[in-house]
């Protein structure tokens, strides 16, 4: 069965990075697809418009867990603009690629991260700060 998965994916599944949650998070995002059954929740900490910390929890198949883990590694240290541009494809490449049946429903990390960034932006606007994503401001 392990032959079905790339070593990078198995590594992220067995030793996922940044699992957990951030109690005083600056942004929280959640993506779930009840039909497919996978759900990912992401917490971010932001400083100087950069992502200083990311944590995730995932309910899903090995690919869903691995892509979420890979996403956190890609996001940490990036500016919000850069992080918002992390695509599903970039995440999929980070776990060695995904088969077509996994590509749709098991690759929710990037979308959940985007939701968390948007959540941060909305909160910032509500606090009177100018939104920091150029394209969204």
């Amino acid at each position: 069965m392990t032959d079905r998965y790339d070593d990078k994916l198995l590594d992220h599944f067995s030793h996922p990075r940044n699992v957990g949650q951030i109690e005083d998070a600056d942004g929280v995002g959640q993506i779930g697809d009840s039909r497919c059954g996978d759900m990912v929740k992401v917490w971010i900490k932001v400083g100087d418009d950069r992502i200083t910390d990311v944590k995730f929890r995932a309910f899903g198949c090995p690919a869903a867990i691995a892509t979420s883990s890979a996403m956190t590694e890609l996001a940490v240290g990036k500016s919000l603009d850069e992080a918002a541009e992390i695509t599903d494809d970039v995440v999929a490449q980070a776990v060695g690629g995904l088969s077509p049946d996994k590509a749709h429903c098991s690759n929710l990390g990037a979308a959940a991260l985007y939701e968390a960034i948007m959540n941060y932006v909305v909160r910032s606007v509500e606090r009177g700060r100018v939104g920091c994503i150029a394209s969204e401001a």
């Binding site: 069965m1 996922p16 009840s34 899903g60 198949c61 090995p62």
Partner: protein
């Protein structure tokens, strides 16, 4: 690391005794059973001995056994064969929502041809209410097809009762007994069935062979046309060695079934107890008692089935799941959905299906491997 196989509802290893029985029928006794010379006659005798053993297992007549290439083919043949033969009598079929895809897809195909199909619901344990069958029968009903036991959850249906209702109304009755032949007593007269499917590789015979019991007098339009094999019901030179294996497997199952059933029930219930003693929020899918001895389908709240399977696989333990994406399908188990299991728990299901190779030690190994896996996955789950 000793590997532990707990996926016997998917397939079983060929029993060494079956393999030994098959050996001479590749290169020594290789004749075409349809040939009239000595080589052919010897092959024919072996083929008919195998047929006799299947007939004996089912308490059926030898002429009533038609060999096929799989359980799926037997299901297709029964359903399409009856529908096409009895179309002048009616255009309605009755089945259940939890059938194997071999049955569901055959019914869906017939719907495209203009037949009407009623898909009966099941209760929370996976049982069809025989009264629902009675109510669904119309003057146009030509076939009822309900599986004997479900492959995912193991729930056993009230086949004798449904068969009695079918007979009262003069409707033919087929059962998919792929998961029960060789496990439960399968007596076609006691079950009141007119057609019954079985598969070789679920009973320690090779893959690529199955059989359909066709009660004398039941008309069947063949799926495969050609020579006069299988009394004109299924063309194609018979898979001799594998069918000899199927016969031997049926003989062994018949002799050892009762003891093995008791042994597997004990092992399965021990595994169930060990798991629920050590892990919280574990739910049984399927009927608590009306369930085949070897099947244990559990949902582990807040964790997804495929992640459990991969984690166990890394420890050499093979189990199955009905959850999303595992078989390239994005949909969760149609069986668990029909039973009304909530989506989160259908995604969390794992099927343990036991067989001849399993020991009490295996149950302990699995029960020891599971808790840290569930704990790890629950720790990273956003669900509580």
């Amino acid at each position: 690391m000793k590997k532990i196989y707990l996926d016997h509802n998917a397939t079983t290893p060929v029993d060494p005794r079956v393999l030994t029985a098959m050996h001479p029928y590749f290169s020594e006794v290789f004749g075409n059973p349809s040939s009239i010379h000595a080589f052919g006659r010897e092959a024919k005798e072996a083929l008919e001995r195998a047929r006799g053993r299947i007939a004996h297992l089912l308490r059926a007549g030898e002429r009533e056994i038609c060999f096929t290439g799989s359980g799926t083919e037997a299901d297709n043949m029964a359903i399409k064969g009856v529908a096409h033969s009895y179309r002048n009598k009616g255009d309605h079929l009755i089945t259940s929502q939890i059938e194997h895809h071999a049955v569901l897809a055959s019914c869906a195909y017939l719907e495209k041809e203009g037949f009407r199909v009623t898909y009966l619901p099941v209760d929370g344990t996976g049982r069809v209410d025989p009264d629902d069958v009675r109510k669904a029968i119309t003057d146009h009903t030509i076939l009822i097809t309900i599986m004997h036991a479900n492959n995912e959850v193991g729930t056993i249906q009230a086949i004798p009762e449904i068969g009695r209702i079918a007979r009262e109304h003069g409707v033919l009755f087929h059962t998919d007994a792929v998961q029960t032949a060789g496990k439960l007593p399968v007596d076609v007269d006691a079950l009141n069935v007119d057609l019954l499917s079985l598969s070789g590789h679920k009973i320690y015979a090779p893959k690529g062979v199955g059989a359909l019991y066709i009660r004398k007098g039941t008309k069947i339009t063949p799926l495969i046309h050609g020579g006069h094999h299988e009394h004109g019901r299924r063309a194609g030179t018979e898979n001799l060695a594998s069918l000899v294996g199927l016969g031997k497997a049926a003989e062994i199952a018949g002799a050892e079934r009762a003891e093995e059933y008791k042994r597997l029930t004990k092992l399965r219930d021990a595994l169930h107890k060990k798991i629920t003693d050590r892990i919280e929020r574990v739910f049984l899918n399927g009927h608590p008692t009306q369930r085949i001895a070897n099947t244990l389908n559990l949902s582990f709240a807040a964790v997804e089935g495929e992640s459990i399977i991969l984690s166990l696989d890394m420890e050499g333990i093979a189990v199955a799941s009905g959850s999303a994406c595992t078989s390239g399908s994005l949909e969760s188990s149609h069986v668990l959905n029909a039973m009304g299991i909530i989506p989160e728990l259908t995604q969390s299901s794992v099927r343990f299906s036991l067989g001849r190779t399993n020991t009490p030690e295996d149950m302990e190994t699995v029960a020891e491997a599971l808790p840290p896996i569930i704990e790890r996955l629950r720790a990273m789950s956003p669900l509580t």
